[in-house]
Structures are given as C-alpha cells and as structure tokens.
C-alpha cells in the first residue's frame, strides 16, 4: 500500500523514497546513455534498443511477482515456464500453423502447459518449504536438461524445424518461415524522434501487467499476498496456505511461458536446448533492481526494473565497443558486458539476502 503523499513533498524526498538499488542502477543507466551519446551513438538508437529488450523481457520479469508475493521467493525455476512455452510453440509450429494464428494458439497452449507444470512445481515448493531458493534453480536446470533430450526425440518431421542432418529439432527455429517473426513488434510500430516504438509488443506487456495488478486486488490475490506476508495469519483466516502457494506458482510459470512466446517473436527465433538456463537470474535481477524485495513485489517494480536492467545490458555492448575504440581484442567488450550483467545480478541478490535477514 502506498504511503500517504502530502502535497508539499519536494522532488528530493520523492527520490529518497526510491530504493537505493533502483537509484544506483538508474544513475548507472543514465551515465551509460550519456557516455553513449558522447562517443557518437544517436540518442534515439540507444533508447530504441533499451525499449526493445524491455519489451521482450518485461513479461519474464513479471513472472516473479506472484511467486514473491506468495512467499516462495523469486522464481528461480523460470526455465520450467520457459520450457513450457517453448514446447507450446514447437507443437503449434509442427502443425504448420503460421502468423497470428501461431501467436494466439501458442499463447493459449503456453498458458495451459505452464499452469500444469506450475502445479507440480508448486507442490515441490511446498514440500521443500524454507529451502525454496536452494532447490528451485536446480529444478530449472534439471528440466532444461531433460528437455534437451525431448527436443531430440520429439516425433516432428517439419523440414524447417529439424537439423539439416539427422534427427532432432534445431537449436534455433527461425520464425520467418512461419510468418511469425517480429509479429507483435511490427504491429503499429512507429518512430518518433529517432526512437523506434514496438507498439504491439508494449501493448501485450502492459495488458499482462494490468491483469497481474488486477489479480492482486481480487480475493484470491489478496489471500496469496497474505500467505507471503504471514503464513500463520493466513492460516488463522481460513486460507489454505499450500493451495495459495500452488496457485501463485501456476500463475508464475504460466506467465513465464507466455513471456518466452513474446521473447521468441521479438528476436524471430524459437531457441531450444541450453537456452532456457540463462533466464532466471536476469529476470530476478530485473525485478529486484526495480525495487522489489524477496518478500514483496509490485507490478511497478517490474516495469522500472526491466527497463533499467535490460536497458543497461542493451547499451553496454555498443557503448563499450565505441569507448574501447573498436579494439575488441578477444571479445573484451562482451566480457565487460557479462561483468556488468552478473555484477548487477550479484548486487541485487546480495541486497535481497540482506533484506531477508532484517
């Protein structure tokens, strides 16, 4: 609940209300944008690439809201949802469904598969209460590995999806064969002051955020939040704590599944095998940078955090390449980008762990 804001609040005291981590990363973001402009990148291009990554990452970041609110903590098992979404897309593509129909059907199937997977994941989280954050990441890794085999053995014979030689699905299935690459991104896309706005993608993001916001104002949503704050309070109020946690994780996993569908169209590929492994930490860092804690997350944290964190990563590559005067010896720039990314993840997780202790 927001604190009562009196009218004579000065700008400075408003700034102070923003969590320190958000301010720190925000300042860093601004510094990188300024550096980018100084070294010659057009401002519009920098903001465009920030917006691009925000658009594809926001829903994946959003997936952390229900799990954090229910007390399960950030969804370190995001790969489960991602695998569900990938499977949904692969199955729809195998039927040679194209374009908007592909988007619609794979989103629906992603929600169904994600909910089912989330149900079992939620039960697992209930069984290991108290050690969720130790178990969840490895659950994600395990699922990714298992699906590595599934991708190889699925009985699909669509020529555009298979390896050129031998059996099994490709690492990257290009969506342009199916008229589904950038399908949301290109919808109502426009350019203003050099900034490319991928309207369709952003609409989907904001609709998802609005639905999440509304959900946490329903009876069930409020009950889930109470479970996360104080399981004993919730129990005394007649709420089934385990059931609430399962519902929260079903939603979280289903949202992640939808998130990967949006992500795939935003890059134009359905990427399989190891690919889901690398999603949990950036998504979690995003929501934490946006001001969420390990116990409390709001939709606003998702929007702010995904923009700052993903925006920063989007800018790091081009800006640092220029700063180093295009002398990218041995991929130094990419190393710097990894240092920035993992440094912020480390910082955000450390802050979260400290917050949990207090």
């Amino acid at each position: 609940m927001s604190e009562k804001v009196t009218e004579n609040v000065s700008f400075l005291s408003l700034i102070r209300k923003i969590p320190f981590s958000t301010r720190a990363v925000g300042l860093f973001y601004i510094a990188v944008v300024i550096t980018g402009v100084v070294v010659g990148w057009p401002f519009g291009m920098l903001i465009s690439s920030s917006l691009h990554l925000f658009g594809v990452w926001a829903i994946l970041t959003l997936a952390n809201v229900p799990s954090i609110q229910s007390g399960t903590g950030p969804n370190f098992a995001l790969p489960i949802g991602i695998v569900s979404g990938l499977l949904a897309m692969v199955l729809i593509l195998a039927m040679n469904v194209m374009g908007w129909m592909f988007m619609l059907l794979s989103t629906i199937l992603a929600i169904i598969l994600g909910s089912i997977a989330g149900f079992f994941y939620g039960r697992l989280m209930n069984a290991v209460k108290g050690s969720e954050m130790a178990i969840a990441p490895y659950t994600g890794f395990a699922i990714t590995a298992i699906f590595g085999l599934v991708w190889l053995t699925l009985p699909i014979d669509h020529p555009n999806m298979l390896f050129f030689l031998g059996d099994g699905l490709r690492h990257q299935i290009p969506l342009d064969y199916f008229n589904a690459n950038f399908i949301l991104a290109n919808l109502l896309q426009f350019e203003i002051a050099g900034v490319t706005v991928r309207t369709g993608e952003l609409i989907v993001v904001f609709v998802a955020c609005a639905l999440m916001w509304l959900f946490f104002r329903t009876k069930t949503g409020i009950a889930i939040s109470a479970v996360g704050r104080s399981p004993m309070f919730a129990k005394a109020a007649g709420i089934n704590v385990n059931r609430s946690r399962i519902i929260a994780n079903m939603i979280s996993t289903a949202v992640a599944a939808v998130g990967i569908v949006v992500y795939a169209q935003g890059f134009g590929f359905v990427q399989l095998y190891d690919f889901p492994m690398f999603f949990a930490f950036p998504a979690i860092a995003g929501i934490l940078v946006g001001g969420a804690s390990g116990q409390r997350a709001r939709v606003m944290n998702v929007i702010v955090g995904a923009f700052l964190f993903q925006g920063l990563l989007a800018l790091a590559l081009p800006v640092f390449t220029r700063v180093l005067a295009d002398t990218d010896v041995g991929g130094v720039v990419n190393q710097i980008r990894m240092i920035v990314q993992n440094g912020i993840i480390l910082y955000a997780l450390a802050l979260m762990a400290r917050g949990a202790k207090q």
Partner: protein
C-alpha cells in the same frame, strides 16, 4: 541456623519504562533449598537473570540494587562472572551435545588433559591444544557427580537417546562437578519429568543441599515445594510478597500469596450468571488434544452455553492457549467438537470461520495482524475471504466500502491512528489489539475466541476491550471464550472460569470463588486434595 550465603538487596529493574522488579530483597542461606514462587511475569526469571549476569539485563540498562555473596558486594556482569563466583544454573532448555557421552558433556570445556608425545614436542607452538584428554579422570569425576545424584547410569553413555529426565540430571551433574559451586538455580526442573523422576530429583536435591550448596528452586508445583524446600519466597507483580519458613505455611496460604489480587476493573453487575441446564449449548468440546508447542492440551472437555462468557485461566505453558488455537485449526488437534449441536472437523479453519467462529489470537504480531499492511486491509481481511464481502461486481476489492467500514470501526473501538491507511505495525499494542478485535467483529461471529486480549496493553485500552466483550455478550448474545493469564480480568467479566494445568482442566469455578481455590487449581491441585493439604 546456617549462615547467609547470598543476598539480594533492594533489586529494581526496568525494561523500557516497564518496571518488572520493585525493590526486592531476600537472602539465601548455605545448604538450604529455597523455593522461588510467583505467577508468570512476577519477576522470577528477571531476578535469576540478574543473578546470572545475563546479557539481556545489561543490554537493557542494568539494574538497581546490590548482590552480596558471603557478605561482600559482587558485580556480576556476565555469566562467566557468575560461574567464577560459584553460581550454577540449570535452564529449562537443555544445553547438551547429543553426540557426546555423559562424561564429555559434564566436563565440557573443563576437560582434564594429559601430555603425549606430539604435545611434548610441539607445546611451544600449540600450547595446551595438542594435549590428550584424560578420559579416565574425566569419567571418574563424572561418576562422582552422578553418584551424588543417585544416578546409576554409565558415565560413558551417549547423551543422544537418553530419556529427557536423564538429560536434566546430566545438566545438574555438570553444575555440581564445577569446583566451588555455592548456589545452584533450578528453573522449573520437574516440568519435563515424570512423577517418579521428579521424586528422584527432589531426593537428589536434598543430597546436594546436604553438601552445603544452596539451591534456588523455581517451580509452580506447590506440593513439591512444600515437600522439599526449607524456605519460600513469593514474588507478585515484581514485588517481594513474603519470605517464610516452609514449615510455617501451607499450600493454601502460598497459593493465596501467589495469586493475590489487584483488581483494577470494576465488576459490573451480572457476572457469574447462572445458565439454565436446558439452555442451548453453543460449543461442546470433548477430549480435546492439541499439539501446540509449549501449550499442549491433553484431553479437555467442556460445554459453553449460548451467550456465556467462558474464561480459561492457568499459568503460562500449561495449555490454556492451546485450546482456542486447536479449535481454530492453527495447531494440530483431535477431539469431538459440536458447534450449535453440529459436528465440526478439527483443523478446518475455514469451516470454523464459516460457522460463525472468530478468533483473536494471543500472538498479535505473528497471527493476529499483517503488520506491513494498512489498518483497513487488516480489518476486512477475514470477512472478505470467508464471506466474500467488500468485493465489487468484478470480484475486486471495493476500496470504497472497505474504507467506510474501517472508519466506522476505528471510531467505534477508538483506534488511535493517523488514518485508516496506517500500517498496523506502527500502532501501539492496545490499538493493534483493537484492530484484531475489529477484524473478528467484522466477521459478525456468534462465537468469539479471544486469547490474552489485554496482554501488554495500557489500562485504558484494557478497560475498553473488556467492556466491549461484556457488551457483545449482553447485547448481542455473543458467546465468548476468553483465555487470559490475568485472573483478575477473567473473573471480572466471565460467567465461569476454568483453570488449566499441565494440559488438563483442573476445574471450573464461579468468578467469585476464593483466591486460594484459584491458586491451588493453577498448581494443579484439585479442590478435594487442597482441603486435605490444608
């Protein structure tokens, strides 16, 4: 008469403005068993913490007054000081290492060592650290200590798997093995023991006292105290009531001293209403068992009539709090429950709430409130969840009706706050309790369980809450089951008061029964036995 060993002189202690000990003075003699008695919150543990130099005393500003040992003033600033002065304490929670033998536990950190080859060579480098344990000597010492306690168990047995009673003896053995032990404090040592173990312990205590060691014995079992102690000291509300030779007093008198009465709440007319045997029974409990940690209930049965205020009293840790928690499904429970004649399954909180029961928990911050949420959200929470109230047509929380209702409740219960949006964590204890009550009342209950409704709140809020409970019962015919540690308050509004001891219901008394009767029951003595004892 033996000489005075330890003296408490004018001890006062304040915890953040709350005086818990007021000018307490008494002395302990060499070789005596001195019983220290008092209700919960009387100041027993505080005075023992002072004696033992516990950090909790010194981190909260120390204490006033002086401690004298052998007629010399001493400063006990830490447990180490206390040990050096010959003060030993056996805590209620055991501090033993399960994987070590009894002897190893007894000699922990005071091991006997001997030289070996490596140590002789490296002594300049590592000093004592490389010495070998002299197990024979250690076992011998442990044997001696165990023999003093009449314990036949082998000293090389692992502590792991010992019955809980034996662990208690190992703790005591450790203390008496320490050289120069002068005072041994036993904090409720018999609480975890079976009857025969307790008897064994009492005789062991006599053996120890015969060695010239003074024993401070804290217990609420009056029969044990009269059986074993030489003198008793009684504290009440932080004040020293009396120190007496045990032979000059009796159980009844002790009970009365202990309970005392400081009635600050006027008794309004109508308490102790007699309910017709034919009137409807709102709640019937048969053979209730509740597995609430520290508040276990072991087979309790009672009936509460419609519109009655049923008080449940007893000392802390005896199980009185377990009753409401078990019935409301917070802790696992078994038994047969009828609400308005209808059978209810235990552990189904939702069903209980749906049948019109509401619960105000004794654990305000843990169970009673969402401390990071606003007053209004707290007040409507349960009603929204159980009865789907305060929702709009789309199933979303209806901010408007929530606010309206919260404002009404804030006014009715006089909740002092900046606005209905204030977080409940920032409210004072009394106002938090009012929010808890407001939430329960929002459910429009027919049966209301309130546990410790006035614990830790100021007198004004206390009066308002008790008056409110009375009014709900009188005007709306609400059935109220109130659990409280404060007997005076129970008696002031209840129609009947049940006393729980060691998980069982000792008896039910009218609120105007004599204090000694209540006192005896709180110590687990049924009326008949009490009369024999007196």
């Amino acid at each position: 008469m033996s000489r005075t060993l330890l003296e408490f002189k004018n001890i006062s202690k304040t915890y953040s403005g709350n005086q818990v000990l007021k000018d307490v003075s008494f002395d302990i003699r060499e070789g005596e068993i001195h019983a220290l008695l008092g209700e919960n919150g009387a100041g027993k543990s505080t005075i023992m913490n002072i004696l033992f130099g516990m950090p909790v005393i010194h981190s909260t500003g120390g204490f006033e007054g002086e401690l004298h040992i052998d007629e010399k003033k001493v400063d006990v600033n830490s447990p180490f000081d206390a040990m050096a002065l010959g003060i030993g304490m056996v805590h209620q929670e055991f501090m033993l290492i399960p994987g070590f033998t009894i002897a190893e536990n007894v000699k922990l950190n005071r091991e006997i060592e001997k030289n070996n080859i490596i140590n002789t060579i490296t002594s300049s480098l590592f000093g004592k650290r490389m010495k070998t344990l002299d197990r024979k000597a250690m076992n011998r010492d442990a044997r001696k200590a165990l023999d003093k306690l009449d314990m036949s168990i082998e000293e090389f047995t692992l502590v792991q798997g010992l019955p809980i009673g034996y662990m208690q003896f190992v703790e005591i053995a450790r203390e008496i093995d320490k050289k120069g032990l002068k005072v041994l404090v036993l904090d409720e040592p018999t609480a975890v023991l079976t009857e025969s173990e307790a008897e064994h312990l009492l005789s062991a205590m006599r053996n120890i006292a015969a060695l010239g060691i003074a024993i401070v014995f804290i217990s609420h079992r009056l029969n044990e105290i009269t059986a074993v102690s030489d003198r008793v000291t009684i504290l009440r509300d932080g004040e020293h009531v009396i120190t007496k030779d045990t032979k000059d007093t009796n159980v009844l008198e002790i009970a009365e001293y202990m309970v005392g009465r400081k009635v600050s709440i006027d008794r309004t007319s109508g308490e102790g209403r007699q309910f017709d045997d034919n009137s409807d029974i709102a709640l019937s409990v048969k053979d209730l068992y509740v597995a609430m940690p520290n508040e276990q209930v072991k087979g309790i049965s009672f009936d509460v009539r419609k519109g009655e205020i049923f008080g449940i009293g007893g000392l802390a840790g005896q199980g009185k709090l377990g009753i409401a928690n078990g019935l409301m499904g917070i802790y696992e429970a078994k038994g047969d429950i009828l609400i308005n004649g209808q059978k209810v399954a235990l552990g189904k909180t939702r069903q209980m709430l749906g049948m019109g029961a509401a619960f105000v928990s004794e654990d305000r911050k843990g169970v009673g409130l969402l401390i990071e949420e606003s007053i209004e959200d707290n007040i409507v929470f349960t009603a929204m969840n159980i009865h789907s109230e305060f929702l709009n047509a789309l199933g979303l929380a209806n901010k408007h009706t929530i606010r309206e209702h919260a404002r009404k409740m804030i006014k009715e219960l006089d909740i002092r706050c900046t606005s209905e949006k204030q977080h409940t964590g920032r409210l004072s204890g009394g106002n938090q309790q009012k929010v808890c009550l407001a939430r329960a009342l929002t459910q429009k209950p027919s049966i209301l369980f309130v546990s410790e409704p006035t614990r830790g709140i100021d007198i004004g809020a206390k009066k308002l809450i008790l008056d409110l409970l009375l009014k709900l019962s009188r005007e709306q015919g609400m059935t109220i089951i109130m659990t409280s540690s404060e007997l005076a308050e129970l008696c002031s509004i209840s129609d009947r008061v049940a006393i729980v001891c060691e998980g069982e219901m000792v008896g039910i008394l009218p609120p105007d029964a004599s204090l000694s009767k209540f006192g005896l029951m709180m110590s687990g003595i049924k009326e008949a036995e009490g009369e024999v004892a007196s």
